[in-house]
Symmetry: C2
Subunit: 211 residues, 2 copies
Amino acid sequence: MTDISILGTGNMAKALATRALAAGRSLQILARDEAKAAALAAELGAGVTSATLTEAPAGRLVIAALPFDAIVEYATTQGAALSGKVLVDLSNPVDFSTFDALTVPADSSVAQLIAAASAAPVVKAFNTTFAGPLTAGEGYGAPLDVFVAADDAEAAALVSAFIADAGLRPLPVGGLHHARELEGMQLLVMAMQVNEALPAFQWGTSLKVLG
Amino acid sequence: MTDISILGTGNMAKALATRALAAGRSLQILARDEAKAAALAAELGAGVTSATLTEAPAGRLVIAALPFDAIVEYATTQGAALSGKVLVDLSNPVDFSTFDALTVPADSSVAQLIAAASAAPVVKAFNTTFAGPLTAGEGYGAPLDVFVAADDAEAAALVSAFIADAGLRPLPVGGLHHARELEGMQLLVMAMQVNEALPAFQWGTSLKVLG
């Protein structure tokens, strides 16, 4: 049995894999390129398996560490293979040429677009945690906050339990429509990383509710 | 000469007055009720003056610590009295009956609505700082972050200089259209304060970019 399937082999996929193993979860890595998935699985060790994105994911929790357009495509094409599972979206639909706008309509979010295309309930989480602090499990001496937006209570609970077991703090923000505000705030945080007036911010910050 | 005029006598007005005096700024308090303005001015001491909201504000920096609908009305009716000044909006257009939605259109913000009604450039700032930490000037051992959104660079610089002199950290997030994301994130932070699943959050948290 596999607990978690992670889609992708980039920095966020690696960071989430590190947290999943720290939480004692069994793990599968899926990627478009089977060799890349197998290489990351081997690097992670500890019985981590691998597959291609076109195969049905083995885990109940499917965490998509892919660009936002690729996740919408995945949710659409996987269809029934996602039935009975929970899909976690951590993407940010940012216009990376300007860092000044989101690329989804003002009354929507990429999480809601994915939910409309998905047979599985969608949970927005990990979109405000950069890969460095997430790999470490903490940022600047504090446990990372992971904001969670979801319409499905059981799906949200499954994700929040993983977050807590991984040594992080889950912070429920309400229904999936609040993914809009999470994606919007992360647009601002990302813009700060490329703002020359803020040289201390170099993609390693963490957004935290102190209290 | 008066540096700063604060509109209102509530908790946020008092907190900002405390910061203004800590920054060495001269200060005026304005309120609909002249007696309340005078009482707060006397309580603050140190040469703080008072006036009613219908009088022209004396400070170059006018900080509106009023409910969001009252600020739009103020900007509309004050007209020429605000010319040459900078208007700071710290309000959050939250539906306080549900804490689940903003009351402005999805592609707008209360700051932009105020700017459309105002003869002065508008700066969004202090909308994510609760009164308690703002009065103290810090939250949980860290200097408060004050996110600043503005289209007018000179206005933004004036506000950021005040924030820094008050012992806080100004974080520029870009143009005034980004007030939308700031108001949206604070909706989520406020919803957490009334969420019984988060008993540690009691209107004293602070939103921080650690790094």
